[in-house]
Symmetry: D2
Subunit: 133 residues, 4 copies
Amino acid sequence: MQYRFTLRQKVRDYECDLQGIVNNANYQHFCEHARHEFLHAQGISFADLHARGIDAVVARVTMSFKTPLRSGDEYLSCLNVSKVGPKYVFRQDIYRLPDHALSLRATIDNVCVVNGTLSMGVPELDALLENEK
Amino acid sequence: MQYRFTLRQKVRDYECDLQGIVNNANYQHFCEHARHEFLHAQGISFADLHARGIDAVVARVTMSFKTPLRSGDEYLSCLNVSKVGPKYVFRQDIYRLPDHALSLRATIDNVCVVNGTLSMGVPELDALLENEK
Amino acid sequence: MQYRFTLRQKVRDYECDLQGIVNNANYQHFCEHARHEFLHAQGISFADLHARGIDAVVARVTMSFKTPLRSGDEYLSCLNVSKVGPKYVFRQDIYRLPDHALSLRATIDNVCVVNGTLSMGVPELDALLENEK
Amino acid sequence: MQYRFTLRQKVRDYECDLQGIVNNANYQHFCEHARHEFLHAQGISFADLHARGIDAVVARVTMSFKTPLRSGDEYLSCLNVSKVGPKYVFRQDIYRLPDHALSLRATIDNVCVVNGTLSMGVPELDALLENEK
């Protein structure tokens, strides 16, 4: 599978819970961080967007948990993005390294709220999709 | 709508991110805490299960984010549970208080791993479903 | 020992790490939440202060960890506050319930930054000290 | 200043709170991650130690917060370690990049609990100090 953006990271021990595996809510953090790093690589800052009254917010999350990550594991966080109506749809997969076992498969829908109102999208994020072609 | 279990909680400021709203990964934490408190109310401890080699793990999460929670908000975390094959399916809703605006609607599938092997379920959790009738 | 404010809370399982005890960084969260709830009880909101350009920030933390908290534990989060120069000094203790074993003893110095500049304090927080007498 | 170990990391947006700066409890996480990565570089795993009945636990933390880290910042997490009685004393500094402004200065005392009993230290951690000379 081909991805638009990949980020290599390492599990931090405090992300593991008493079962010794990464707590499932942390995968949502991993996905957010990959999205924001992807935006950053395109010159777009989540914090700057917020300062300008543009808030990218998560509308819907679907996550399937496969091989759990553990203390000491490295992982590859991968994403693709498309647009469906007002939604920026991120398909995000996380693979354990070095064996590339699939750890998480997620679809995360984001919408933009501009000065408090749901928008159909913002030009800089749409431009990012154009570049994709 | 009727729920099997409800838990009243308050947003903690550190759960809010730079947008001033609760970070979306924290809702997964809120849901987990409600599930574990529900189990606890039935005399079942997540930590004890783990100590006995029984790990309830999240297999799949679907979350729809509605009204965002903010600093100072209280919320009601509500759940129902059923079983589909080996999956304990928790339907979890979070309502902002005092206006009961729906904040989150989630479906969270859990499976039990017993000494490292996926099981069809464990008696104490199944008993919990029996009680539901 | 007498405290100005106390808050009863329960450990959430995701706050425990792979050692099965509450991860030490979470005690800092517990202390922050107690301070903010204390302020809230006095009609002061951390988020509102921020919106008005007043940021209470932590300058220094000293924490001694005693009895660790575990899954299922309840705890009492207690605080006193005084002022030393520009610093609001919170002395915060956390006790495990029901045996009141001391779990954490902390001193947390906060200062106020007003529109980006360190201030000698803000009237609403100073008033709070007056009330203490 | 010379350090035994340094780790370059990047702020993740979910680590920032509603003030737009990294929440202070997260610096404790940053310090823990640097310690564990340091151990890992020496072939010692925090999770393996736990599995063998050896728990390195934090006994005391002193943290002075200087320049706050923000969204998009990279930082250098640095440490030295020495032993005082049964305590492994980590001196940990965090610098913002690229300007190397000091962000955090911390001293974190750890002790080892072996099968539930406070120990004077464990050979593999002591060896690590010997190597330091």
